[in-house]
């Protein structure tokens, strides 16, 4: 009898255990649901940018997030083919301005403009541009970035340049680049260069650099709102000629012909080869803290010098929701979590990526952090910037038209005038395909 009672008790306990465990889970609002997220590179294992917040989100909500990390080209291909087939297999994708423009114009992203409250919208920094297309919002940013002038303290001192007065005009900048380009070991060969930027290894970075120079020369946009090219103008020509001047005078780190992935860019600055760079703000944390950086104590940062004006471009990233997702409600919750003030502040302090929220800049911990110099420069630059070029045909324009024309002009395969004429004609042809 006693054994029978014990047996019955065990059976009751076994049958009741799922109920007991799920009672705890029912406190989690979305327990049992799943999200699939495709994202771009999230950083090395010892310093993941976004994933820690996703795991925290899982714990708080009970939602299981399948986090699929891909290179940006792979992400583009996977999502494009899935979206063309109207697949609901992916809910959220990592995005930047070009992807947002392309995917939103194709009708593949969920418009969430009306689902974002006014308070959040007002607090979002220029990083919102990464998920905006034609005035509509398709996601939330995870971080911001902006180009700043980086300069090397040691090299400036050796060249007799004033550390407290970095170049703020083009003439000062080019003069500094000339002084910083030299043979440091006496073997007759240049081994230190005055300048590096994104470079001309591919169309996209070449066009990014050219766009930056255009803005500095006073050209507000490469295309008008009717997609007509504006770069074949006196300002566009001046920008291209000044950019080419850096190469012609051999002031440019030769690695710029082959290196353009952002991590390789960071490593090149960290190797202490160049005296100045037009780098992304996120370079600052790498340069000043990474164990591989040789310029930890030598990296200084300031707003961009002016040609006609001091201007910069933004390079933020975000996450967008697939139009075909069956989990749009919880996808939006994930985006809000990643974009929260707490998480964006934590990401800034851990990794140096600019926050997607303006309020984070006023935080006392942030103001007093090791990133204060970079943040001060970024805050000044954010008053005078333009968005990175974004259009559904952006990739083709960069790789086959304008970016390619810039590279050919640098290599003297075309004159600057010929390059811009050719690029204008080709751009009109390419854009017509997308109308």
């Amino acid at each position: 009898m006693k054994r029978l009672l014990v047996f019955i008790l065990i059976v009751i306990l076994v049958l009741a255990s799922p109920l007991i465990s799920s009672a705890g889970q029912q406190e989690k609002p979305y327990a049992g649901r799943e999200l699939v997220v495709f994202c771009g590179p999230d950083g090395p294992p010892e310093c993941r940018r976004i994933e820690p917040y996703v795991r925290k989100f899982e714990e708080e909500t009970g939602i299981k997030v399948q986090w699929v990390e891909l290179t940006f080209p792979d992400l583009h291909q996977k999502f494009s083919t899935m979206a063309a087939a109207k697949s609901s297999a992916v809910d959220v994708i990592g995005t930047w301005v070009n992807f947002t423009a392309e995917f939103a114009s194709a009708g593949w992203l969920e418009d969430i403009t009306d689902k974002i409250d006014e308070g959040l919208r007002k607090d979002l920094s220029s990083a919102i541009n990464s998920v905006t297309y034609k005035g509509r919002i398709y996601g939330l940013p995870e971080s911001g970035d902006i180009r700043l002038l980086f300069y090397n303290k040691r090299m400036f001192k050796e060249a007799g340049l004033d550390l407290n007065d970095p170049p703020d005009t083009w003439d000062e900048f080019i003069e500094a680049a000339r002084l910083l380009t030299k043979d440091t070991d006496g073997d007759g060969k240049i081994d230190q260069w005055g300048f590096r930027s994104m470079g001309c290894a591919a169309g996209i970075p070449a066009m990014c650099d050219y766009q930056l120079f255009c803005y500095m020369c006073g050209l507000d946009s490469l295309f008008d709102k009717n997609d007509r090219p504006l770069f074949n103008s006196s300002q566009g020509l001046k920008a291209l000629k000044l950019y080419i001047q850096l190469y012609d005078e051999e002031l440019v780190d030769p690695a710029m012909y082959t290196v353009w992935q952002y991590l390789e860019e960071f490593q090149r600055w960290g190797a202490g080869i160049a005296g100045m760079a037009f780098g992304w703000a996120s370079l600052y944390d790498y340069a000043t803290t990474h164990e591989a950086s040789k310029v930890k104590d030598d990296t200084l940062v300031a707003p961009m010098p002016a040609i006609n004006r001091s201007a910069s471009i933004t390079g933020s990233q975000g996450f967008a929701i697939s139009k075909f997702s069956k989990n749009k409600d919880i996808a939006l919750e994930l985006l809000k979590c990643i974009c929260s003030a707490e998480n964006t502040k934590d990401m800034l302090l851990r990794t140096g990526f600019l926050p997607a929220r303006k309020s984070v800049y006023d935080d006392s911990e942030v103001k007093g952090s090791k990133l204060a110099m970079m943040l001060a420069a970024a805050a000044i630059q954010e008053k005078n910037y333009s968005n990175r070029f974004a259009a559904p045909y952006g990739s083709e324009i960069a790789n086959e038209v304008l970016g390619l024309a810039v590279i050919k002009a640098i290599k003297h395969e075309m004159t600057p005038e010929e390059a811009l004429e050719w690029a204008e004609a080709k751009a009109i042809e390419v854009i017509a395909k997308y109308k």
Binding site: A106, S395, K411
Partner: protein
């Protein structure tokens, strides 16, 4: 009555045979025939994946557009240059290695094993190895050239002229594919009767003459197979470009096959990419026929 039974039994064997073949046939229809037919259809349409409303019949316009595309045309010349340099090096080195391995020597098995290593390495890994070898900061290629005095400082080779970049890619590809070529030639050499060489020796032919007038004609059919296979591989080169240069800087190392991939997967222009792919396919078919006609020669 007996013959009727036999006829029925035969038909049933045929039917049974078809049933056994049907999974393979279905697979071939679904994954070979259908994609080929559909991609031919797409090449006459205007399909851009990010433009779902763009699908319309355009006839031969895609073929015309791609043949007028300067990046595609440039890529054809670069592919030709790459193919010639790759074929020359892989054939010459492959034959030399095969001739050496056709003799017995101490350590031959070890040498053959080492020879197979490049062939066994996955293509992407091969690309990564050569990316490090050619690296402008600390690549061994620069180190060796600097040591022997050919260069006076480390260079970013892919930023030099396009021809230099393509030549370097061709070296990396040759390293990967030469073992297979050498093994094909070795297999052919090992079936060659020694009496042919002995007869030529008796007639007074020297080593070089025996090679040209005896060995090469004997290897003719192997040469045709190798040329067709390696030409196809050269024109279709993709993985090493994707890992080493992605066609850059700019379009300096943009070869045709990689460009067609870019049209399809970066620009999502499936129709134009299909047209480009079929132009390449037609070109390979023409070359294969030419090789066969040129090298099959007269009677043995």
């Amino acid at each position: 009555m007996g013959s009727k039974i036999i006829r029925n039994k035969k038909m049933s064997e045929q039917t049974f045979g078809m049933l056994l073949l049907s999974p393979t046939l279905i697979f071939l229809l679904a994954f070979v025939a259908f994609p080929i037919c559909y991609s031919i259809y797409l090449s006459f349409q205007n399909v851009i994946l990010s433009r779902p409303y763009s699908d319309e019949f355009v006839g031969l316009q895609n073929y015309i557009n791609i043949l007028r595309n300067p990046v595609f045309l440039n890529s054809l010349w670069k592919t030709l240059y790459f193919s010639v340099s790759f074929l020359f090096s892989v054939l010459v080195i492959g034959i030399i290695v095969a001739l050496v391995l056709n003799h017995n020597f101490w350590g031959k098995s070890f040498v053959v094993t080492c020879l197979l290593i490049p062939w066994a390495i996955p293509r992407v890994v091969n690309g990564l190895i050569w990316k490090w070898i050619y690296d402008g900061n600390f690549g061994i290629f620069n180190a060796v050239l600097l040591k022997i005095g050919i260069i006076d400082s480390y260079k970013f080779w892919f930023g030099e002229s396009p021809l230099v970049g393509i030549l370097l890619i061709s070296i990396a590809y040759t390293w990967k594919l030469m073992p297979f070529v050498a093994l094909l030639f070795l297999a052919a050499l090992q079936t060659m009767p020694r009496s042919l060489h002995e007869a030529a020796k008796v007639d007074g032919a020297n080593v070089w003459q025996r090679f040209i007038y005896v060995t090469i004609p004997y290897l003719r059919y192997t040469l045709i197979i190798v040329l067709i296979l390696q030409t196809t591989l050269a024109i279709k080169v993709f993985d090493i470009i994707a890992v080493l240069t992605r066609g850059g800087p700019g379009d300096r190392t943009m070869l045709t096959y990689y460009y067609v991939y870019r049209l399809a997967f970066d620009y999502l222009n499936i129709s134009l990419a299909s047209a480009g792919g079929y132009i390449i396919a037609i070109f390979i078919m023409i070359l294969s026929i030419l090789y066969y006609k040129l090298f099959k020669g007269g009677k043995d």
